[in-house]
Symmetry: C2
Amino acid sequence: MEAFLEEARRLLAELVALPTVSAEGRALREGAARVAEVLEGLGLEAALHEGYGPPVVFAEGGVGERTLLFYNHYDVQPPDPLRLWATAPFALTERDGAWWGRGAHDDKGELVARVMALKLFKERHGFLPRVKFVVEGEEEVGSPHLEAYVADKRDLLQADAILWEAGGVDAQGRPYLYAGLKGIVALELRVRTAAFDLHSSYGAVVENPIYRLARALASLRDEEGRVLIPGFYDRVRPLTPLEREVLAEIPDESEALKEAFGVGGFLGGARGLEFNRRLYTEPCVNFNGVHAGYGGPGSKTVLPAEALAKLDFRLVPDQDPEEIPALLRAHLEAQGFHDVEVQVLEKGERPARSDLAHPFVKLAREALEEAFGARAVLYPSMAGSGPMYPFLHHLKAPAVGLGVGYPGSRVHSPNEHIRIRDFERGVRAILRLLELFFLGR
Amino acid sequence: MEAFLEEARRLLAELVALPTVSAEGRALREGAARVAEVLEGLGLEAALHEGYGPPVVFAEGGVGERTLLFYNHYDVQPPDPLRLWATAPFALTERDGAWWGRGAHDDKGELVARVMALKLFKERHGFLPRVKFVVEGEEEVGSPHLEAYVADKRDLLQADAILWEAGGVDAQGRPYLYAGLKGIVALELRVRTAAFDLHSSYGAVVENPIYRLARALASLRDEEGRVLIPGFYDRVRPLTPLEREVLAEIPDESEALKEAFGVGGFLGGARGLEFNRRLYTEPCVNFNGVHAGYGGPGSKTVLPAEALAKLDFRLVPDQDPEEIPALLRAHLEAQGFHDVEVQVLEKGERPARSDLAHPFVKLAREALEEAFGARAVLYPSMAGSGPMYPFLHHLKAPAVGLGVGYPGSRVHSPNEHIRIRDFERGVRAILRLLELFFLGR
């Protein structure tokens, strides 16, 4: 195992050294080319697919009656703020039993784990199983071209199951996997009440955009977090009995999170099953920011001309991110907020959830439990979002996420890292999954 | 008159050259010393009063049965943003029939106009009338020590009437004067819901401070601008018949302002008398700024931990700025906003209005009308605020403001200036007021 970890570290260091920051368009071609080389080194045939933003690395090969498709991405979040990094973000370092660097977990660490699991499979069984890779280069900026890509290439991508990116162990060290992701749509609300900022003494007669925006935002949900936009919940698909059963098995982390986040409690006093139900299977509206007028020290008697808010809606099956802005606009109109302008910031992502009854979900859970020698937690959906929907929709195959991280991995933050022990067990779980999927018990 | 204007320009240039920015504590001692010298040059005895922030210049002298007190200030607003100035802010320039520079109007131009009027009075009548000057150095930062100063020095400051700072002609060129100012209290509202910013996927269970703040702000007034805080209007003194009469004489500038400000209309559809009643005699709440979370380009899926708003209340007689924060806190508590923290940013200023029936008000109006050869507009109060209250309260004398500016003077903004023609007529009005006050008709 020593030699295997050394090889993984070398490969991860090579990938981390490429600053593939999609938000800044940095090193994306180099990143795609290097990933293609690595996959060809495995014995797969790789190609760079152009015309969908940065090149999509596609690879396929191996033998088997069934096909497993891996989804990953080679782009990373910006490393800012740089001063908070203990070591340079694009130079992988090993210390305290962990590998540190931007992308060490998300998603280069995950990709390397899969490559290593396939190598180990080949060494142990003498052949490469039938796999495909889709490694995109703009996941960190919302995968704007991935839906079109998957639709166009659906025949080429055809697979029986999909291994999604990311996962690992939870705060208590339990391995987990998940079968879905929430959808998302991000918007901006803007109110302009005058041509320019005025002296605040005119506040006696001139409307204030902060007041209008505050009222509009307050109209979007109730005190318990329920969204008040008519029609918002219409397409929410009720949980199946199996989904409810799986949900009820998720450990209650609400007390631990209350402490960790420094909050007095959760919306509607939710805890236990209700907490998990909301977090993993309920849609919501979230305000990301609001800005208008003066925000410096002391006071400034200004009446601003404009106010701006950014918000996102997290969606669950079968809500449609393309429908939400229209529902929001209709709500604002009906409430008299004709002056509130709505702008969609990103195309959005559809919610996705695999059929929990599919044998692949069970298989993945078994592989995880065998590798960790512990009970695994299955999440019907995660609280976050990702571009899973087009894969489920076009390939008619289930997707499951499991991986090599832990809650302290600092994904998207300075000092991103994975613990070598998590990596090792994560690789073993993927290897076991390959064996169960291609060889059976 | 040529020589007189040349002397005024030289004196104003000298004062403008001193960058007496109180917000930055710049050149305040030099400013105070220079003003004292100028007043001594008139034949007054001047002193710098210490212990009330930057030195207060006090001066007195002259002969007469009655005393007129001038209130002015030698500090100015910061000149930022510097790049918007056509010429250097602290170097007075003359072009297009105007004098340009920081403080050219507010308040160095006003002070110079009074000095020149007294010189002209002395030349014409052979003696200096009995006047006092209070010239403070922190008007632009809310005059935090002036109330204590006036209380302590009430005997020294004793006067029969007060000439307040600032004034001039309105947008139609009509001269105006005013007999009161609104009070003000500036506050900050802050909501913290968690120990640090979270990923927005937690919005399904964790409270959002923007929502809490939005609801709190929305609870403070109704759609027409009426403040909803219980007790807020309790101390509002009804207008006297004379005040109502004077209010009804103010020209309707609502249509012109609608166009100038680029607004569709005014709160509650106010125009004409109702517009003037609200603007000049009604209290209000005004939101100066709101800030939380992300405000950059595109979207960022963050759930901020804290949200902040700045607001001010404009007050009318006999509302008390020290009482408002307690009323606000009680309102927030009653509405369930236990999580909204209220902080008073500045001590505030009490509203003040002189008795419109006092002969001095009539005298000032006559002086203005004689100097301009036109009907003058009398405002019972202005929409803005200032430290007039302690003078009215402790000296039991009326205060009237008139001056040398116009609506385009760009007070507090880059390219501040006064038109020489306005200055000249303003000086004549002050001279005429001195004659009417000290010599009678």
